[in-house]
Symmetry: C2
Subunit: 376 residues, 2 copies
């Protein structure tokens, strides 16, 4: 625990609202909600009988409590708020901090029992923003898995034939779809013991809606955005990478779009270093896009242009601090962030190029290498 | 919306604390938190620009709002509470209900602006407990995927050889491990477009800790508990099945343990019908186990015996109402529940047999069939 944690009494809901922070704080996770308390420099877990064995494996670093050890009545065991109350009473705590994510139901039960509840300032664990060497190893492993999957996906697109109608065709003559490529990505990630949800394989205008995962046939002469973000089942750390490719020839406008995004990403990567302002990195990309004629705004009722942040932190969450956006602050050594400029226009499609990098003394370093060759 | 929803003003946090209820209420889900409001019989979503396209696909059933349409300032956009406030102001709402899971941070921001916040009684959507025909079809599809994966896993164990040391061996002569079997299960589920986390392949005493997923070599003459619960990526509905198998001969005590659990499950399944009391179903199993000499309690500091509920509801959540436990109530037609008695003792291992069934007019019906042959 850091100094700040030592001097506070904090209640978190593991497995639920505060799952990631609890995992970070004590290494424990479970499918159903459980309670975590820090008080007087000691960590406590309140878990069900079902979780007791796993919780005890944490050893002396964490004191484990159960419904039985606290003498909770059957009705109390069914209420997270009553469980929290039982634990706080046992620890002799009459005032407690909770996260802004703490369920109101728990807070109301505590307040009814005259426990004074204060919402702790975010981030609860500022040290989460700067990764340890061990965390960087975990992130690198997940990023390597993402790159393997990316190479498999790009390989399938590269090996495709083009039908008279412009569809991409598999070796067996059948149409290559977003679903087939996604399935291949998921297989590679599963083999690397990673979970992968919402992988994006979005062709043409599908990519203009940035949260559309993509579906149906893939076409030649159209951009295909591949965004892969696996989470390691063992470490819980994420990787995140995006590449955009195009099978068959590109027209001059497509080439200009790709090159503009690529140049913006290169410049942004070159400007990442300790002390660099993430807000300014974002703004420079925005300005560069405008200067190249790529404006951002609503068009035909749809947001188009550079419609998302330049990047975000990656760790036990796929989206965490620090932000590389108008909300950005100064970068520090050991932070792990994505740099992922993108441009999206109906009729032209989308281009996004994303790498996950660690901020080093001298600049930054990609967690894993992956080609940005785009014309296949 | 049902009558109850029509007369209330309700705020939920989609993608976050109230993710499943929002998905149930309006069919929308997203990776990052967004807001959902029901008021005056109308459904509303407040989503980021990134989600706008997908949200609009819901059509007229849901009114879509964005940070722009509400005129939120940049700082307000970064706070879920301020976003909620903006939406409530726009809708002219000065009092609102939230779920017990609503983040305290959101509630505090609303209260600061003199919005009156009340915690709605659970369950928010009582109709979720009774599945529609469409929901049952989704559940059946996930359960079928689970059964396919189960058959693949059991097939691997059945095809194994037994080494001189009692290890199970694959066809290639290498030791068959929990990890290898789990990987095969995950592959089958991936091919069925399902997500699978925390699949259990637990041999011998590993199964006595019910949340231990299992690891390392599998052994002959020991129980292997296989618990498979996939979630369909498309529908969001779960399946849930457990089988226990044993390769090589079983001793009389193992045979007695298995037969006792099997008989308890059969009797429980036979007693499931509309109007049956789920609490009594659970208690009868408990009593039957005691009568057979299988007591429940702490032994050597570890909970042993029948240490979990008989069952739980399955739907958009793997664990939802109704509960088949001391908290159980009367069952109704269309409810989908698991029946999964189990007994666990150190030195003997664990046996759990689980099926997911739908309550019918006459009794209940398994969502998918799967053999309970256990001696392989």
């Amino acid at each position: 625990m850091n100094k700040r944690s030592n001097s506070r009494s904090l209640l978190l809901v593991g497995g639920g609202a505060d799952r990631i922070n609890v995992r970070y704080a004590c290494g424990f996770d479970a499918p159903d909600p459980f309670l975590y308390v820090e008080a007087k420099g000691q960590k406590h877990l309140l878990v069900s009988m079902l979780e007791l064995g796993r919780a005890q494996q944490l050893g002396e670093a964490v004191q484990t409590h159960t419904h039985d050890s606290l003498g909770l009545k059957p009705k109390e065991r069914r209420s997270l708020g009553q469980q929290a109350l039982g634990l706080l009473k046992h620890l002799g705590l009459k005032r407690i901090q909770v996260s802004a994510d703490c369920p109101i139901g728990v807070v109301r039960e505590l307040e009814k029992a005259e426990i004074k509840v204060r919402v702790a300032k975010a981030p609860l664990y500022p040290e989460r923003l700067v990764k340890t060497d061990k965390e960087i190893e975990f992130l690198r492993a997940s990023q390597r898995a993402a790159v393997s999957a990316m190479k498999a996906a790009i390989g399938m697109i590269e090996a495709s034939d083009i039908s008279a109608e412009g569809h991409l065709l598999q070796q067996n003559g059948e149409v290559l779809t977003a679903e087939i490529v996604r399935h291949q990505i998921e297989r590679v990630l599963l083999d690397a013991d990673c979970i992968a949800e919402d992988i994006i394989v979005a062709c043409g205008d599908q990519a203009v809606d940035p949260h559309e995962r993509g579906y149906g046939p893939l076409y030649a002469h159209q951009f295909i955005v591949l965004d892969i973000f696996p989470c390691s089942k063992t470490s819980g750390y994420w990787g995140d990478i995006t590449r955009t490719v195009l099978r068959g020839g590109a027209d001059p406008m497509q080439t200009k779009l790709y090159k503009t995004v690529l140049k913006a990403q290169k410049e942004a990567l070159a400007s990442v270093k300790p002390g660099a302002n993430a807000k300014e990195i974002h703004q420079r990309i925005f300005d560069r896009f405008v200067a190249a004629g790529f404006v951002t705004g609503m068009k035909d009722g749809v947001p188009q242009g550079f419609i998302h942040s330049t990047g975000h932190g990656v760790g036990l969450e796929i989206h965490e601090g620090p932000s590389v956006s108008p909300a950005g602050t100064e970068l520090e050594v050991g932070q792990v962030i994505t740099i992922e400029p993108g441009l999206y226009y109906r009729g032209l499609g989308g281009v996004r190029i994303e790498d996950t990098v660690v901020v080093t003394e001298k600049g930054c370093s990609a967690l894993a290498r992956c080609s940005k060759e785009w014309r296949l």
